[in-house]
């Protein structure tokens, strides 16, 4: 077995050629207030500060309704925060852009486009020639396990298949930052594991920055450099846990690794605490 040094130890290695990790995303004292239909202000995010380094894989973990999606939308530029600011590569985020690719919880596929049409949409918009965009898109569709479904319309796909198309569609235009909102939520265990591995392979190859929202402790630990634990009402960062496990990670090996098991158990305990706190506010 070949164990490569983990990223964190790579960064820690002293040497003149090593660049210090640069910040890709800086979230600075962000709060988000929503007006509910009852005309009451609802504090969805409270004073969130978080820095995500270039090339890091960061997961956001927290109970339902704690503001994970909202935080992702702010980084995406789809929602502007009530106070505070978010920056990408040092520039304040004011609008969406192709440097940040979202994969939404609701898929949001274009129903009038086929699977291929959906995946090709981004590259075509960016001016990639049709033949080239098509070849790349077909390869991506194959990667997410949908070969043979290129000419299907979204309504003809299952929930899990739609989710995979959404992932391929975003990967197709090569965003530097991936903003993934429970992208594997609707998948069966087997496909989920496969796509987690594929995502890790892509990430290890391209070193994209990934902000990954999930409900699953297991998934967060397996994939991430850092896990951000959030608590509910109002959404706050409870704790940031560095996951110091070697890469490339193999699921079967990790499951037997006591360090992995300890991370999972520790975080799950923390999750339980938050849940209890959420029940009696």
């Amino acid at each position: 077995m070949k164990v490569l040094p983990s990223r964190s130890s790579e960064v820690a290695t002293p040497g003149p050629a090593r660049q210090p990790a640069t910040a890709m995303i800086e979230i600075d004292h962000v709060s988000q207030v929503f007006q509910t239909s009852a005309r009451k202000d609802h504090l969805a995010l409270s004073d969130i500060s978080l820095t995500i380094e270039d090339g890091a894989f960061v997961s956001i973990l927290g109970p339902s309704g704690c503001g994970k999606s909202t935080l992702l939308y702010i980084v995406g530029g789809f929602v502007s925060p009530t106070s505070g600011s978010a920056k990408v590569k040092g520039k304040t985020i004011t609008a969406p852009g192709p440097d940040r690719g979202p994969v939404f919880q609701e898929f949001a596929l274009f129903p009038w486009k086929t699977v291929l049409g959906n995946v090709m949409y981004g590259p075509r918009q960016q001016g990639v020639r049709a033949t080239e965009a098509e070849a790349q898109s077909r390869a991506l569709i194959e990667m997410v396990g949908l070969k043979g479904y290129e000419n299907f319309f979204p309504k003809e796909l299952s929930g899990g298949m739609k989710q995979r198309v959404a992932l391929a569609r975003t990967l197709a235009y090569h965003p530097e930052v991936l903003l993934m909102d429970e992208p594997f939520g609707a998948l069966d265990a087997h496909t989920r594991t496969r796509l987690q591995n594929d995502l890790l392979n892509i990430w290890e190859r391209d070193r994209k920055t990934v902000l990954f929202v999930t409900h699953s402790v297991d998934e967060a630990v397996f994939l991430s450099d850092k896990v951000v634990m959030m608590s509910r009402s109002p959404g706050r960062i409870r704790q940031v846990i560095d996951i110091d496990l070697p890469r490339p990670r193999r699921r079967t090996e990790l499951l037997l690794d006591p360090r992995y098991q300890k991370y999972v158990v520790d975080i799950e305990r923390m999750f339980d605490d938050i849940d209890e706190a959420g029940v009696n506010p």
Partner: protein
């Protein structure tokens, strides 16, 4: 596989037509009223009308006005409805205007429009335009409003501008709803076409119908009703074909061509 249910679906409309004509025939024979010809008499008058050059010119003139009025209305109403659906400001500006126009029977505006524009093509085409506009605006508006926000966000993340999003995402996403409006609009175009010609008698299918009524040629009156009805059914069926093809990606809907939907 052609199941008996499929055959039944084919035969049912035919049976309905025959049933209607038979009931008409029986009722007319029973009533023996001069102003109520039998179905056979009315149908015998149809080829006579369609064979008459003058009548044909009249009908074609009607259809031309209808086509122009419909096309112009669709061309204006779809962009307007979509803009209203995506912009509160645009909606707030046009909504009161439309609310005033909506309940007014468009044919009731005919006298005023005739006063301004005369009895010619322009006035009649304008009335058709007004009749078609409202359902198309309304359905485009509803369709645009219902477009999933995340779909627009996905587009924006790919680099589409707001205007591009409107044309390349809102328009196709709202298309099923828009086409439902257009279909209602098409039937309304036919109705306003006839009523406008009833008020401004000068030419057209409505003109033939109401002149025949004045002169007591009841078989011609009923023959014209059959012709106009057939035109409506034909146009609607043709439009439904086009619609089904354009939105075959959409959720499967009750796909029977119901004209009153």
């Amino acid at each position: 596989m052609t199941s008996s249910a499929a055959i039944g679906r084919r035969v049912a409309p035919l049976l309905a037509c025959i049933g209607l004509l038979a009931a008409w025939q029986v009722a007319a024979l029973a009533l023996k009223n001069d102003s109520f010809p039998t179905a056979l008499e009315a149908m015998r008058a149809v080829p006579a009308i369609l064979g008459d050059k003058e009548a044909l010119i009249n009908i074609l003139a009607s259809l031309r006005r209808m086509a122009i009025g419909f096309a112009a209305a669709v061309a204006v109403s779809i962009p307007l409805g979509l803009l209203m659906g995506r912009s509160r400001t645009v909606a707030a500006f046009f909504n009161p205007l439309l609310m005033v126009i909506y309940p007014v029977p468009k044919a009731a505006l005919m006298p005023i429009i005739m006063l301004w524009l005369g009895v010619g093509d322009i006035a009649k085409t304008l009335v058709i335009f007004l009749g078609v506009s409202l359902p198309v605006i309304y359905h485009s508006f509803e369709g645009a409003k219902a477009v999933e926000e995340k779909m627009l966000w996905s587009g924006a993340a790919m680099g589409l501008s707001a205007a591009q999003c409107l044309v390349r995402i809102v328009l196709p996403a709202a298309l099923p709803e828009i086409l439902t409006g257009c279909r209602t609009g098409l039937v309304l175009a036919l109705i306003t076409m006839i009523t406008s010609e009833m008020i401004a008698r000068q030419s057209g299918a409505g003109n033939i119908l109401f002149n025949a009524l004045d002169m007591g040629q009841y078989d011609t009156v009923f023959a014209m009703i059959i012709i106009v009805g057939a035109m409506g059914i034909g146009l609607d069926a043709a439009f439904e074909k086009v619609r089904a093809r354009l939105v075959r990606w959409s959720e499967p809907q009750f796909d029977m061509p119901l004209s009153f939907s």
